[in-house]
């Protein structure tokens, strides 16, 4: 079974990478396999979760689970034109519960706590001993003020054209560019890490011969695809 899994995963990786050269039937096959298996996996996990968390306890006498079950079933009325309205009730329950749970914490976690973490006195202990921390704290304060000022849209024309505001906004553009650059670099790091992982897998001693065979097969398909397609069109 492990050998079969090795063949399948090696083949699907190389088929997917073949898109770099051009779209082939192998790539499309890998894409469809991925879509199908991801859907299948998702459904199995969802059914298992419902079964373990709600269905089994309900059948053993925990009647409270019947409420989420009924609410869940009500979602399926979306497929009926006549009873479509029923699905609004479970949606309302879901949205209101979600919003309430978020609201109880988000003000504290993303607003109040973040403000107090941002505006730290750079010259107070324990920062004063470390020049790096002092500079970091000053930078955070300056950058937050500049960036926020960039998003102040209202106000009199004279206020908007105030030299201080203009300077803050100009600085904000550069600071945001730094942030976008860092974000993009992080994305590159992530993608390379993914690539390194797959390469390590393909070059592992037990997979090397399989990798070679599948690369040759994929190359043959890539080379042969064009002439075959032209032949097919002539017919």
């Amino acid at each position: 079974m492990d050998v079969v899994a090795l063949w399948i995963s090696t083949a699907l990786t190389i088929f997917t990478v073949s898109l770099i050269f051009k779209e082939t039937p192998l790539y499309r096959f890998a894409q469809h396999v991925f879509m199908g298996s991801a859907m299948g996996y998702g459904i199995v996990m969802a059914v298992k979760a419902v079964s373990d968390i709600a269905w089994n306890p309900m059948t053993k006498g925990e009647a409270i689970w019947i409420i989420p079950f009924i609410l869940g079933l009500m979602f399926y009325t979306k497929f009926s034109k006549k009873y479509f309205w029923v699905s609004r009730y479970p949606t309302a329950v879901l949205v209101s519960t979600g919003v309430a749970l978020t609201m109880r914490a988000v003000v504290r976690s993303s607003f109040l706590a973040q403000i107090s973490s941002t505006f730290l006195n750079p010259l107070a202990p324990p920062y004063v001993g470390s020049p790096q921390l002092v500079i970091n704290n000053i930078l955070v304060i300056v950058i937050v003020i500049c960036t926020l000022s960039y998003f102040l849209f209202s106000g009199e024309k004279t206020w908007q054209r105030n030299p201080v505001m203009v300077l803050l906004r100009k600085a904000a553009i550069y600071f945001m560019m730094f942030a976008f650059g860092a974000g993009f670099a992080s994305t590159v790091v992530s993608r390379i890490a993914l690539w390194v992982g797959r390469t390590r897998y393909l070059l592992a001693s037990e997979a090397r011969s399989i990798t070679s065979i599948i690369i040759i097969f994929t190359a043959l398909v890539l080379v042969g695809q064009g002439p075959l397609e032209r032949m097919w069109k002539r017919r």
Partner: protein
């Protein structure tokens, strides 16, 4: 013509990066590495656990993000077992069961560690934020069995855990915004800080919460290599380190060359 150059240029770039990655994997170079402050802080966090401490190990990445987190997840898992911590593996992402199977094989459960006593896997809990909130409040009210169908009351470890306050340390390994849900549903209501490992893409989103609301933060695959160095158990992190460094250098060269070419073109126009 220019389209053709662009097409083949892209292929050349891909092939060069592929070679830059494959070569050091086949012939490790052993580039020097410096342990960063964040990795050391995280290491100390795990190292300070008392034997028998119970740890929530959140397997929360999507399968696409797992590869980047893998070295960190393995190294930290090994460190936890070495410290005789007891681990509750659980996931708020549907990929958790598949990842758990690979992860536990990679970590290699030490001899003498018994499922149910030293570690358990509770499976996937749906509902994201709602799931985390319910789990934090009362695990036994939310779940009656583990992933394998064993009743929680038959697992000695789970008899010692009722809610989130019974954990000595809470960790989440994620490739999306779940750590922020941990902050909202665990850190704020229960005043318990969480330790987080994320993929690089998520670092700018999660980093602002560190160190005030997040107690430990590892954000790049390089930190997996650093962690392996700290626990003195070289693994895939150190093996991948050379490949990542060289691939990044190749990309850096291409970015510089590409920008200079574009500048030249713009001047001509």
């Amino acid at each position: 013509m220019s389209e053709r150059v662009e097409h083949y240029g892209t292929i050349v770039l891909y092939l060069l990066v592929a070679v830059a990655i494959a070569f050091p994997i086949l012939n490790p170079i052993g580039l020097p590495m410096v342990v960063s402050e964040d990795t050391e802080t995280y290491y100390k966090l795990v190292d300070s656990l008392k034997p028998g401490g119970i740890v929530h190990y959140g397997i929360d990445p999507e399968i696409g993000g797992f590869e980047e987190l893998r070295s960190r997840m393995i190294a930290i898992g090994r460190h936890l077992f070495a410290k005789d911590a007891r681990i509750v593996f659980v996931g708020f992402d549907p990929n958790a069961p598949g990842i758990y199977k690979m992860l536990i094989e990679d970590i290699g459960v030490p001899k003498g560690k018994v499922y149910g006593v030293d570690y358990v896997f509770l499976g996937y809990i749906p509902g994201l934020e709602i799931g985390i909130a319910s789990y934090a409040k009362d695990i036994h009210a939310l779940l009656s069995v583990d992933y394998f169908g064993t009743p929680l009351k038959d697992l000695p470890l789970m008899n010692e855990v009722k809610d989130i306050k019974d954990f000595s340390l809470i960790m989440s390994f994620s490739s999306h915004g779940l750590p922020l849900n941990y902050v909202e549903q665990i850190s704020v209501p229960y005043h318990i800080k969480v330790a987080v490992c994320v993929i690089g893409v998520m670092a700018p989103t999660v980093k602002p919460y560190y160190p005030d609301q997040i107690i430990g933060f590892l954000s790049t695959p390089r930190m997996g290599a650093e962690y392996e160095l700290l626990i003195r158990k070289p693994g895939i992190g150190i093996a991948d380190f050379d490949a990542q460094t060289i691939a990044h250098a190749v990309l850096l060269v291409f970015i510089v060359v590409g920008n200079l070419t574009e500048l030249k073109r713009a001047k001509k126009r």
